[in-house]
Amino acid sequence: MTTPLPPAPPPLVVGPLTRTDFVRYQGASGDMNPLHHDEPFARAAGYAAPLAVGMFNAGLLGTYATDWLGPANVRRFRIRFAEQVWPGDTLTCTGAVVREYEQDGQRLVDVELTATRPAGGVAVLAWATFARPAA
């Protein structure tokens, strides 16, 4: 027996994003690429502002997914970076079940997750597999 699959939670809405969000994530993650916090460096590289760290955007999807299906149950988390994200953007994280199945005696669920920018463009996509705990 497995516990019933909980419904997807309401969207996780984060923003408007600030440079501080990016810096805080960079300190936490160890990615010190100046493109994400050094304004003159970002402008010299041709950007209008420091752009969000893709892995920060993906981390928000991790937050959404683990609140839904449980942090200890994650077995796979695959991320694809699509649109760039900028200070002032608000990201909306949502998810949907793709399939439930059994593999090697373990109940699993595959979900698709998206973080969407204000105009509707998908910034980050993720495909995740979670184990389903026994009841």
Binding site: L12, V14, D21, R24, Y25, G27, A28, S29, G30, D31, A45, G46, Y47, A48, L51, G54, M55, F56, A58, G59, L60, G62, T63, A65, T66, D67, G70, P71, A72, N73, V74, R75, R76, F77, R78, I79, R80, F81, A82, E83, Q84, G121, A128
Partner: protein, 152 residues
């Protein structure tokens, strides 16, 4: 232009200590309030093993084979990232050993023309008994032209 000869290059093993304070910091930075990330034996968030960057840097240049790919930074982007957990994810207090290798370098035609060069670095994380507990798969891409700051 990427260095195709880097395929197969491996770094030296490096330690990755899974620490409770770092998990709390990472969870907060990704806007999580989940109590599972604050417990004494806190589990790691799905993308937490990206903190391997700290440990790889501290271990010295030999631990990181990625620079050998020589992707042009001005035309380079992080395309995909994947984490696989062979059982429940690591917890605070675990000491893992990680090792990175360049698994693949390949080219594809871009949708807007031009050749895209992809490089994949796989990092394997083993526990004290040598059991493979997690894998990270980083895919970088180098475009034919410099990034223009617009959405791809």
């Amino acid at each position: 232009m990427a260095n195709a000869a880097a395929q197969g290059a491996a770094g030296t093993p490096f330690p990755v200590l899974i620490e409770r304070g770092k998990i709390i910091e990472f969870a907060a930075a990704t806007h999580s309030r989940n109590p599972a990330y604050r417990q004494e034996r806190a589990v790691v968030p799905p993308t937490f093993l990206t903190t391997q960057m700290f440990w790889q840097e501290w271990a010295g240049a030999g631990a990181n084979p990625w620079p050998r790919v020589e992707l042009d930074q001005r035309r380079g982007m992080h395309a995909e990232q994947e984490y696989v957990f062979h059982g429940p994810p690591p917890r605070a207090g675990d000491t893992l050993t990680a090792r990175s290798r360049i698994a693949e370098i390949y080219q594809k035609q871009g949708r807007r023309g031009g050749t895209l060069t992809f490089a994949v670095m796989v990092t394997e994380f083993t526990d004290g008994s040598g059991r493979l507990v997690a894998e990270a798969r980083l895919t970088g891409v180098e475009t034919a032209r410099p990034a223009d700051g617009e959405a791809r």
